[in-house]
């Protein structure tokens, strides 16, 4: 248990690194092992990148709020933005055709693979909220 720690960054790709460092520092404090810390870093990066690319549809359109807390033996990351509503249910798992080599959908796939739970919600007052949970081994 612990109260959430919060960091707000501008919605720019070169600021995401800061959000990742903030979450990684939290994961270290929470006692995650190195592999889990790497996972949490990747998930945070992919989440923030998607917010800029898909929710805001570009850089400099709004802030991203990242927070972490320890809850019930889990490390919980929350990512909030004020961009367009997103429901990921329709997003297919990624498919890479070696001949075609179109690539897409990796970001969500990574988040789902490396975290134990990933859930999106939209609320008119708070915008999009993404919650990602990593169990502490």
């Amino acid at each position: 248990m612990g109260r959430p720690r919060r960091l707000t960054i501008p919605g720019r790709y070169n600021k995401i690194r800061r959000a990742c460092a903030f979450v990684v520092a939290g994961a270290k404090k929470a006692g995650l092992d190195q592999k889990a810390i790497d996972d949490v870093e990747l998930a945070c990066d992919e989440a923030c990148s998607n917010v800029i690319e898909h929710a805001y549809e570009g850089e400099g359109r709004g802030p991203i709020e990242v927070s972490w807390q320890v809850q019930d033996q889990s490390f919980v990351i929350t990512v909030r933005d004020r961009g367009r509503p997103f429901n990921p249910d329709g997003v297919a798992t990624p498919h890479i055709d070696p001949d075609d080599l179109k690539i897409g959908g990796l970001g969500l796939h990574f988040m789902r693979q490396v975290m134990d739970q990933v859930s999106f919600s939209f609320n008119e007052n708070h915008g999009n909220t993404l919650v990602m949970v990593k169990r502490i081994a």
Partner: protein, 110 residues
């Protein structure tokens, strides 16, 4: 992220180090595009010094691979760091890229 390019007779050796994420991947894309725009379609991406790579980095590499293959070339990966190897595997791209444990073999593969 640091990128250096060494041009050999038939092969380009692009060495990347540091962090490849959505903030830096555009530079990697640009470096790769410069090579393919100049008709250089045999590329070794030497990734031993990469401390972190996200899907943005993979997209850059796959884009270059597609372009090179169109012209009968290839992008191969040499000496991936553990972090890079993990992400390649997570994406299922370890089966799409030829990966070499040493740079000599990667350059020699062309």
């Amino acid at each position: 992220m640091e990128i250096s390019v060494q041009s050999f007779k038939r092969v380009e050796l692009l060495s990347v180090s540091g962090r490849i994420d959505s903030g830096t991947a555009p530079q990697l894309e640009e470096s790769l595009r410069q090579l393919t725009d100049n008709g250089r379609h045999r590329i070794v991406a030497e990734l031993s010094g990469v401390s972190y790579m996200s899907s943005a980095g993979l997209r850059a590499l796959v884009g270059a691979l597609r372009e090179c293959k169109k012209h009968g070339g290839e992008v191969v990966i040499a000496t991936p760091s553990e972090r890079v190897a993990d992400v390649l595997k997570l994406a299922g791209l370890d089966a799409v890229f030829q990966v070499f444990g040493d740079t000599v073999s990667a350059v020699g593969s062309f």
